[in-house]
Subunit: 354 residues, 2 copies
């Protein structure tokens, strides 16, 4: 049976851990040996002693002793890895630097396959991010999200616009609606517009481009389409108290949806939360900016890391499903005839495994 190692995340602001004690125990019950780096779960409030059934060891021992290494983000000390090791995480799309290390990136998962859904970490983490985006927006909003009826009168609910209705956008819509806001969603994809409508939210219809790629993701817009969209959004955005942006295009920069002119036209006290930096003019990752016209812009690309128990729990379950699929007999031998396994392998420019 293989040895599974869990690396502590080292990126700034990263509070998640790839494996929770619960999932570590389940793997260990299957006969796998688990090595967890000291302190790996600390920022997710999982103590070393919670990892019963695993050995808690130093980082170099995790590197030295594991057949499979688990992480969220690509480690910056991959030189410590051994040839033949398999590294699994949200590793992006680029080949690994590590000599002879096999990279398996959950960013490459074929998400439309139904048997891959339990492994879909992009979805689980976007779900957490969308939830937190709505909370942050509500917390920063100087008014109520819900309609409030009191003896002295009624206040209207906050008007919230969510741009981009993928997983994060839909969860932001659902959470803002739970809080009682009046929510409108927007997406360039017809299928996503239908998803917005199914939540009960209003759909912003801009007579603007339809831009669904075959993958189900949005495609990039032409310059003309993007210009039309931006002009239409510039007119629509100032009608809202809160705007949450989540629009990404795979393999490309996030499109600019809320330009300076739109921000300038918003009412004082309005709040913009940007989950896909690039969507909002001037938004900076991790920064809360109060513009001259009293509009707050919050750049928040990594929100899943700020709800670390929920995010780590979901991620660890995704890894459990992936490991069950990759290594049904507990041996770290990849079956390259398998569609999912082939898809998630990081390759170099020549198409070879990195």
């Amino acid at each position: 049976m293989s040895v599974i190692g869990v690396l502590r995340e080292t990126a700034r602001g990263e509070r998640r851990v790839a494996l929770t004690p619960d999932v570590a125990r389940r793997l260990s019950d299957r006969g796998l040996k688990i090595l967890v780096e000291t302190g790996a779960g600390g920022l997710s409030f999982f103590a070393d002693e919670d990892y019963t059934g695993a050995a808690v060891v130093a980082r170099d021992e995790v590197y030295a002793g594991s057949d499979v290494l688990l992480c969220l983000r690509r480690p910056d000390d991959l030189a410590a890895a051994r040839p033949g090791q398999i590294l699994i995480g949200l590793l992006g799309l680029d080949p690994l630097d590590g000599d002879g290390v096999t990279g398996i990136s959950l960013d490459l998962l074929p998400r439309t396959l139904s048997r891959a859904q339990a492994m879909d970490a992009l979805t689980s983490q976007a779900n957490v991010a969308g939830y937190k985006a709505a909370l942050i927006a509500a917390e920063a909003c100087p008014g109520f999200f819900p309609m409030l009826m009191t003896a002295a009168g009624t206040t209207r609910p906050a008007r919230v616009l969510v741009l981009g209705a993928g997983v994060a956008g839909l969860q932001a819509i659902a959470t803002a609606r739970r809080l009682g806001a009046q929510v409108t969603g927007y997406d360039v994809r017809d299928a996503a517009r239908a998803d917005i409508a199914s939540t009960g939210a209003a759909v912003l219809d801009l007579a603007s481009p339809r831009a669904e790629a075959d993958s189900g993701y949005a495609r990039g817009l032409t310059a003309d389409e993007a210009g039309d969209q931006m002009r239409a959004l510039t007119e629509a955005v100032p009608r809202f108290d809160v705007v949450i942006t989540t629009a990404k295009v795979p393999g490309a920069a996030a499109p600019l949806l809320v330009p300076e002119a739109a921000l300038a036209a918003m009412r004082p006290g309005s709040v913009v939360v940007d989950l896909a930096p690039g969507n909002v003019a001037g938004s900076m990752a991790g920064a809360r900016t109060l513009l001259g016209n009293d509009v707050t812009v919050i750049g928040a690309p990594d929100l899943a890391a700020t709800v670390p128990v929920a995010a780590s729990t979901a991620y660890a379950r995704n890894l459990l499903a992936l490991l069950d699929h990759l290594m049904p007999h507990g041996e770290a031998v990849l079956d390259l005839d398998d569609e999912i396994t082939r898809a998630v392998l990081l390759r170099d420019r020549e198409g070879a495994r990195s």
Copy 2:
């Protein structure tokens, strides 16, 4: 007709304003003259030019020209007031220092009178505070409030305990429930327990004191009762992921409900939000403390001021109802035969108007 002056709030962290542009206009439509201090609405995102129908002037001109002065918190420059002026606000219970100034404190409103309810600023502000408390708790919580069902499994909802089920507590319960948490409430008053149950939340029953005073407020507990309650709560509190405390006793210090032993027994990642500092051992107003066992304690006594548009809007409507009652003909002459008017007057120790 009288002149109504609006003072800018000067306390640190105070972002509310006593009168919104909307209510200022309504008073002005009734023939009253309104003086608003420059920048009074700024931190509530109401600009000076929004106050159409009012004159925006310097603070000394507000003091010099007004028959009635409106505020939230007691101003610290009351020496500038003129004898015969009436000051209206949440002024507390102590007599005013100002020479010959009549104080009308909304803290003294007879809240059980149904015709006083539209004037009830304690209720409207507590409502805002309870809403914000639930948001802050959700934002600080490392897990989800709602139950989450995904392809990779289900997570249980957060368990939230709200101590004290007055207006703030009930709104915190309602908001946490909106977000999908599993909420339990606790109060020493039978009527408040019934209110908790009516929201659909569970009621924590401690076989502990029943302590409702004739006023409808909680009475202070005897030392024995308080000890029993604290022991029972110390056992109950660690079962929850989030605790929100709102228990106040009029005219007395807030009771200690969550002692150090309870905090020490909570799980890592738990969150405590204390709206009534004194309820939680070691909580400090305005501070977020991470204890050694990874429990976060947030001391938040003035949350209404952090949702300034909602809080100011509600407060201004309360003042409108109060002014309509105190000055039905627009003249600042108090009718001391009126039950409400008599009740809200601040008096000195001899019972004379302060």
